[in-house]
Symmetry: C2
Subunit: 228 residues, 2 copies
DNA sequence: TAGTGGTCTAGACCACCTG
DNA sequence: AGGTGGTCTAGACCACTAG
């Protein structure tokens, strides 16, 4: 038995990936079970399981009890996008962060109801407009927000420490700068604007709904398969 | 000992999340070690480890040997975006997919070198332009592409099964439809266009570089914390 | 209903890092 | 230098589901 030994799950993961890329295992094909692989690799089944679960999380493999493990037919690539706090996003670029509250008043929101707070603000990088924030906060869920001026600290930042969420919806889209938005962002009317709409929830109650309109030139960068 | 028992890692994960949301453990705070938690939860340390690793992957916790585990100070939310094959993306919307090759010729690309293939094509949903694909393929890495007409099958689809990649860079941005692009997409000049630039690699060799320009109205939707 | 992955356990050793 | 997380093991039982 001169079988090479694979003693940790990362090595097993790499070997499985190698076989897929070398077409020893092709998409759609069922690969050997964990017991067989453990024997072949000379390790415990739990170690194989660890490696295979990581690959299944990444979308490379599809696993089902009884049916076994198959190489994914449509490798729906999963890209992980980091959604940082705006302050940090600006400071990570080596720029100086500044914040300016534009408006703050209570009102009625179609989804959040009557007890809602509407806050608009501008985040700047080196005193240049970076992103315009248009936010509604549910005061029923986050009553403390009613006592916050949001002049020194942005709602973006305040909410993180005062109203943790359990889940959120995010939508990325492209839009055109309207006249009003163009003035806020110091851009020309009709310029392309990257827009992020986000709703965050505490269980089933919506905490806040925000639209972030980024100044022209903004990009979101991410990687795929980088960690595997 | 009337301690509630947490017998599986999901239950432990839920309990940890509960304590964070209930502010029993606040951001920045070091939480008890795995041995202590295992004793408290009445389970094995490996089970606690499983739960904590999942939370660390999600960005909720920060773990370091010797230093211990802390609640993340800046919960850099990680949103997972699925990047499906265009055909599937259209069919998932209940629309009929169709594809039309626009141009195909070899040429020189500044990054891929002289042995490159340039392919432009249009993907349609119910015969309406959906996304314009502008792609370069490295023929040194994927020589089989030279014999492919890309008339019946799109390069987007062909590459998946014929040139698996190990990693990729992705950039999302917003742009304005130029005159030429507007004609391709059956849109008006100056309309907002969502753009995805992607470069995929096989180890250190770039396989393909593609720009996908989506017809106005396109959105990418994703969730955050949905799986936790 | 039988086979496969999902998970737990108790113990062990190791790698890393902070103090 | 010592404490913490990272990982492996051998064995066991359970949950799901294809045939």
């Amino acid at each position: 038995m001169s079988q090479p030994q694979f003693k940790n799950w990362q090595a097993i993961q790499a070997e499985v990936l190698r076989r897929i890329h070398a077409r020893e295992w092709v998409p759609g094909q069922t690969i050997p079970g964990e017991v067989d692989l453990a024997r072949e690799f000379g390790c415990a089944r739990a170690t194989v399981n660890r490696a295979m679960q990581a690959l299944a999380d990444a979308g490379i493999l599809e696993r089902r009890r009884k049916a076994g493990t198959r190489v994914a037919l449509h490798p729906v690539s999963k890209a992980t996008v980091d959604i940082p706090v705006i302050r940090q996003e600006i400071e990570d670029r080596g720029a100086t962060y500044s914040y300016r509250l534009i408006n703050r008043k209570t009102g009625v929101h179609p989804l959040l109801g009557a007890n809602a707070l509407h806050v608009t603000a501008l985040h700047q990088a080196d005193d240049t407009p970076f992103v315009f924030e248009d936010r509604w906060i549910n005061l029923t869920v986050a009553p403390d927000a009613a006592t916050q001026a949001f002049e020194a600290i942005s709602a973006n930042e305040w909410l993180i420490t005062h109203a943790p969420y359990t889940k959120g919806d995010i939508t990325f889209s492209a839009a055109i700068a309207t006249k009003g938005l163009a003035e806020r962002l110091d851009a020309t009317e009709g310029a392309p604007v990257f827009v992020i709409d986000r709703t965050t929830w505490d269980r089933d109650r919506a905490i806040t709904i925000v639209r972030l309109s980024y100044a022209p030139g903004y990009q979101i960068h991410t990687m795929i398969g980088g960690t595997i």
